[in-house]
């Protein structure tokens, strides 16, 4: 298996299903909750009992509108449809979904690297029950029988269909991560890939670089983490290139990702499996949130990750690609507040990026954080000392000046530092010779020596600068 990235291009489009954070199911009052004893979140509608009728959960629509607006979609009049298929995970023998008129159409999502990915649509539908295959080692084709739990059947899902705008496994991972941040930010989903509250199907095709037509795609299911998403795409793209280079052609099919062997496998395709005989659901009326509802939701939306990245970048002058992690950690407000207190923007963001991975970092007092940055930029603390003090601040909530004093971090007198450096040079003439001849590796010897002599109080940068000055 090989993949020559200079000769071939990967084209990926993702369909992400997210369970919506409602209290009850999409069309009935059975509870929507992960886990629980099997078949305890059930009611007549969930089981498709005769005479039961669906009534739409208003909150599911509210959340769908939020997501739609967050993804820059048009929220429109929509119609539910029956998707007919025979499988025991839905007792009615059809799934209520949306077909030609989804609630959200034509949007976009901006990735941290600035790339904008098109969103084709997002539609509401009900989730299915969970089947466990018993016997044959749990493999579906060899199972003796299956057990079905309907707790999940009828849970509201929003299926978000992205356009085939992604060009690498890396892009695809960034897209899912960004979509997850947005879903969590608007309160629509808990974004848990591992628990299956977010599920990703990926459509992969390949084409020779320069080609404008899309190749034949395969749909990959069973991708349960960002890591397996990347692996599955890379495996599948290489498989398709091998086929084409061997003179064969890619068949459009659904394939199953196997995490254990790191391959995709073809699923037995059922005859006419794609003919779902969709028709408008006669038991439900149209949904049309209308301008008033849409504008109310729009006004209440929180600031979204892409806008927060742009704001942080613009207000600090730090490039967009460097602020993504800071926003992901939710530390952008802290940084902006610290900058408001006079802290150097670049150092502030750098600390948030490298030294504030602790979950409690968000509770830092912005004035304290600003004071710390200012102590460092003013030369009162070295970079290493600042890092130590910052960690302690997160731990205890203390003020930087007191922590620095308690640790005995005081700015070194520049004369004292010069004396130590000169002493070290005099004591090690051979090493100094090598330094002067441009042996970069020996720098650490001198910096380390100074640190040892000063008990770590010296500023590494100042030492390096002094060495350079002495070399002349």
């Amino acid at each position: 298996m090989s993949f020559d990235h200079d000769a071939w291009e990967i084209v990926v489009g993702l369909e992400v299903h997210t369970e919506l954070l409602t209290r009850t199911k999409l069309f009935s009052s059975a509870i929507n909750e992960f886990g629980g004893e099997p078949n305890t979140h059930i009611d007549p509608l969930t089981l498709g009992l005769p005479g039961s009728l669906p009534v739409l959960n208003e909150q599911a629509v509210e959340l769908a509108v939020r997501v739609g607006l967050a993804l820059n979609c048009t929220v429109q009049r929509s119609v539910f449809a029956r998707k007919n298929y025979f499988y025991p995970d839905l007792p009615k023998d059809y799934q209520i979904s949306q077909f030609d008129l989804p609630i959200c159409a034509e949007g976009s999502l901006e990735l941290p690297n600035g790339k904008v990915v098109g969103i084709e649509r997002a539609h509401l539908e009900e989730d299915t029950g969970k089947s466990t295959h018993v016997g044959g080692g749990g493999r579906i084709h060899d199972a003796q029988h299956s057990l079905v739990d309907y707790n999940r059947a009828g849970v509201p899902l929003l299926e978000i269909v992205g356009k085939p705008d992604l060009r690498s496994a890396e892009d695809a991972r960034a897209y899912v991560a960004e979509l997850r941040s947005v879903l969590v930010a608007v309160g629509a989903s808990d974004g848990k890939l591992e628990e299956g509250s977010m599920r990703v199907d990926c459509n992969v095709s390949v084409r020779r670089r320069g080609d404008t037509e899309l190749g034949t795609r395969c749909e990959i299911k069973n991708v349960n983490s960002l890591r397996s998403l990347g692996r599955a795409i890379e495996y599948e793209a290489a498989r398709q290139v091998d086929l084409i280079e061997a003179g064969e052609r890619v068949r459009q099919q659904t394939r199953h990702w196997n995490e254990d062997d790191g391959r995709t496998h073809t699923l037995r395709s059922k005859e006419e499996a794609d003919d779902y005989r969709y028709f408008p659901e006669p038991d439900l009326v149209e949904v049309d949130p209308g301008p008033e509802w849409v504008e109310r939701v729009r006004a209440a939306l929180p600031m979204l990750p892409a806008a927060r990245r742009h704001r942080l970048s613009q207000e600090t002058g730090v490039p967009l690609e460097r602020v993504a992690l800071v926003v992901e950690r939710g530390l952008d407000d802290l940084c902006l507040a610290a900058v408001g207190h006079g802290a150097d923007p670049e150092r502030t963001v750098t600390h948030a990026e490298h030294n504030l991975s602790d979950a409690r970092a968000g509770e830092l007092d912005p004035a304290h954080f600003a004071a710390l940055v200012t102590m460092e930029t003013g030369g009162e603390l070295t970079a290493t000392q600042a890092k130590t003090v910052l960690a302690e601040m997160v731990e205890t909530g203390g003020a930087p000046a007191e922590i620095a004093a308690a640790k005995g971090f005081e700015a070194m007198d520049s004369g004292e530092l010069e004396g130590i450096v000169d002493g070290l040079i005099a004591a090690h003439p051979d090493e100094w010779q090598r330094y002067c001849e441009g042996d970069g590796k020996i720098t650490g010897f001198f910096v380390g020596g100074v640190m040892k002599a000063t008990g770590g109080k010296a500023d590494g940068k100042a030492v390096t600068a002094l060495l350079q000055a002495r070399k002349g």
Binding site: N39, S131, L147, V148, L267, R268, A273, R277
Partner: protein, 100 residues
């Protein structure tokens, strides 16, 4: 006038709906469906350019329920109605293929 529905079309739809039709039934239903579709053709003959398509006859939109939990069904009672139950779950024959 659209093409008349054939026995092949009806056989395909019957298969998708998992209906087993005898050759006689296939003939009968093909004839009946053709009549229904011809009736729809009468409507297609009208000029409806100014009429909005409707998904259903009653002009209702936005019928909702509040997101409030109700009483669940009793599991044991429900499973007692199932042909076979096991471990609190419905036991079904082995399934071929994956859910779509």
């Amino acid at each position: 006038m659209a093409e008349r529905i054939t026995t092949d079309d009806v056989a395909k739809v019957a298969h998708l709906a998992r209906l087993a039709l005898t050759p006689d039934e296939l003939e009968t239903f093909t004839g009946q469906l053709a009549e229904i579709l011809e009736h729809a053709e009468d409507i297609a003959a009208l000029d409806l350019a100014a009429v909005e398509p409707m998904a259903r006859p009653v002009p209702l939109v936005n019928v909702f329920r509040a997101d409030e939990p109700g009483e669940p069904l009793d599991r044991d009672e429900v499973l007692a109605c199932a042909p076979v139950a096991e471990d609190g779950q419905f036991r079904v024959p082995p399934v071929l293929g994956e859910a779509p």
